[in-house]
Amino acid sequence: MNTEKQLFTISVYTENNIGLLNRISAIFQRRHINIESLNISPSEIVGVAKFTIVVNMAEESVKKIIGQIEKQVEVIKAYYHDQDEIIYQISGLFKIKSELLFEERQIQNIIKESNARIVTVNKEFFVLEKSGKKEEIVTLYNKLSVFGIMQYTRSGLIAVTKEEMKISALLETYNN
């Protein structure tokens, strides 16, 4: 098994209970593993939450982590994937002074070229949204930062797998 560190995306299907984030994050904390990004949202199954956790670690260690996560009573199933096995997106929001939109022609070009979307515009500022790979968001950040960004924030990675994830079938067996 590969002992080289690489990015893995961990998908954890859980009951939607208070305190579970604490339990799961503690598993990483205890092993001194930095979570690169974390997103929690409802999943395709009603009442089941999905954690999407990105970590940079060796596959052997990820397997052990998955075991520890699955051990938690309220965790239904945990999977891990490398970057080729998933389709993923992250989202960035940029708050920029409105005057720049009109005075710096280049900004308009940047918006067009990057396929970013204007979310809102008012007298003081406008907000740009860009979804894509992390590199695309960072590139846009680099281009805009030349002109000055009032606020910038980036979401955690969200992902779906290319292969079927048999979580519903698994839940059916649990229910029977």
Binding site: T14, G19, N22, I45, V48, G67, K71, K166, L171, E172
Partner: protein
Amino acid sequence: METQTIKSKQNTTKTTERISGSEAIVRCLIEEGVKILYGYPGGAIMPVYDELYKYQDKIHHVLTRHEQGATHSAQGYARISGEVGVAMATSGPGATNLITGIADAQIDSTPMVCITGQVFSHLLGSDAFQETDIVGISTPVTKWNCQVAKAADIPEAMAKAFYIARSGRPGPVLVDITKDAQMEMFDFSYEKCTKIRSYVPVPKTDFSSVEAAAKLINAAKKPLVVWGQGVILSKAEEAFKAVIEKAGIPSAWTILGASAIPTKHPLNVGMVGMHGNYAPNVLTNECDVLIAIGMRFDDRVTGKLDEYATQAKVIHFEIDPAEVDKNVKTDVAVLGDAKASLEAILPLINKNSHTDWHQKFKDLYAIEYEKVIKDDIHPTKEGLTMGEVLNQINIYSKGDAAIVSDVGQHQMIACRYAEFNKTKSNITSGGLGTMGFGLPAAIGAKMAAPDREVVSISGDGGYQMTIQELGTIFQQKAAVKVVVLNNDFLGMVRQWQQLFFDKRYASTEMVNPNFVAIAEGYYIKARKVTKREDLAEAVKEMMESKEAYFLEVCVEKEGNVFPMIPTGASVSDIRLA
């Protein structure tokens, strides 16, 4: 298949009764078969105590002298009975005082339910008097925990707590209940929990793994079994004995596996690990098939991992999938309950005796006996040894006593030399190594098995960490036999200082009080032995006492425990001196 809504279970009609949350807590305990409860009252749990007053004919509450004592007593109760131990405390400091016992129960897989009172729910998060985030604090050391802020949620939380604590790989659970939830009236009904959607307590056993394991065992020339507490927890003792007897496999135990089969069983080759026996440690690195049953390859057992049984094919019988390949890479993992797996493999294994292989264990035992054991249990030099005290206890207990040990040198000596005829007889703090565990755990053990002789063995250090529980012994009239092996040192640390820190005995020498006077202060019969000629008679008197008895034995100051595998060394580098 990927998109599907899971239907919620339809509610069944239940008979309800309007009662308070605190009465519900007590009624839940009764429903779960709890007869003894260890705890300490305080402001945020008072409504429950008030209900306990009403139900004292059904539940006996044991007032310990510290909340830590409550958890250790509950652990001792659980370990000897196989039932869930229950401890209760108030909020804030009461709750945090439970943590050591909870952490101990977690690492030693002891079923325990802890109930803590919490401040009123409108005060949560406001740094109210005696408020702590006990759910946050206990999260890393519980199998499961939750906070209840509505009376109506109490029955379900309690039912889940007991189910989770006792099922699968057992463990401690904490339920934190706000004071308003305790006082609120609601329609009570109780349904035991038998299933939780996301929780698979026992993984399904793949029969092909059983067949693969049998194949390896049948082909083995030099097989070695290392069993752990999993054998006891799954009540697999008989199935286990049948398997090793049929296959004729020398079998060694981890500290928590002790007593699953009698000490004198011909296939019992002793303890593995840091202070284990010479033969099973050395021969771990010579066996061709290592069969681990209900154990987790703790670092105290394996020593240096990359030199541990590298020549052997490894079979791991295990209930917790996260333990497989965690420390030692296995060739065959048999997931599931140990009893079921061992019963499944029994018909598949061939009868064997492995006579030559057994002889190797006998030869190495003879070396260990000459170099270590003889002088430990039959010393001729001046100064009482811990081993000879254990030897005397064996003589009078005839192997039928439950031995509850604390943590340190005396613990290793107790585990090495105590003789056991019955399962669930070795109660000690394994994974966490909690000094102070022994005395309160012995109280719980004695209350769970009042007909059994329970001998608590402590060092002078650990004993003083929970010495106040002598008060509980006195008040409960728990006929525990308390032995303190006093060397006026924190002996195990001192041994390490001697061996690895140039005898710089930094803060390990203890100036001890008059232990006999303290015991007598609690109205417990007490005796101190300083000479060999008085030992046998004193042990006899203690064992024959119908009441609690305290025996202090002043042992040699600088006695060491050998064999020993130094930290980070290989199991085959075990030292005899």
